[in-house]
Assembly symmetry: C2
Homo-oligomer: 148 residues x 2
Amino acid sequence: MIWFEDLKVGNSTRFGARTVTREEVIDFATQFDPQPFHLDDEAAAKTPFGKLAASGWHTGAMVMRMMVDYWTERQFMGVGSPGLDELRWLKPVFPGDTLSVESRLVDKKESRSRPERGTVWIDVTVRNQHDEPVMTYRSIVMVMKRPA
Amino acid sequence: MIWFEDLKVGNSTRFGARTVTREEVIDFATQFDPQPFHLDDEAAAKTPFGKLAASGWHTGAMVMRMMVDYWTERQFMGVGSPGLDELRWLKPVFPGDTLSVESRLVDKKESRSRPERGTVWIDVTVRNQHDEPVMTYRSIVMVMKRPA
């Protein structure tokens, strides 16, 4: 298991390779974000997207899945997140793109009220197959401390 | 149609009533966020969630859907979002909860580089059926100006 004490500020890692399909872009948008540029190439051509692009919430969800898969392999278990800061969707994500994640631990603090836990801050950069950043944010994650 | 010029700083509105089902919580988590507390009551009981709770990305996606439905009814068309700030998941969202949205326009600016567009900042508060805030964030949305 990886605990709060094992996480070092400054450490970074790259992982994931998720190829986005047209079917799942349209399926997610139909359920959660039915704006024209997430559903249809012709409608998207009239907008800054230019062609069918994934919902930003879909990109966030795909990144979450890559993170959970990475953490699970390494037996790291977060216990939830109080939130995130400065999320930016920098470029559209198109069907056929392959997304990967760079994650860097930028800060950590023990909890005052909950001695069994700590909080870590993680800068997340998501890139496409051209190595262009498509999304960035700072994630806040609660982590268990090593049992005494 | 509602254009950039029609949106007034300080205006706020409440809308939406989406009841969260156990089936969709588990379905979303299985696809995008398979952490134990989003999949199973027993595993969640050992965590700060206490019982099965929705992925924060799922809550965000459900809120996006309520916003798109509200905008579409009023013929408001955003042309995408550069991001959001200070997203906080304040309380867990459980199956059976009914979510609603309060949205308040806090700032607007014309684009310098794109004379046909402007940007608006919207404070979003999501509440459950007990009127407790479960999620807040500040959304940034690009909006078309009225054609000359």
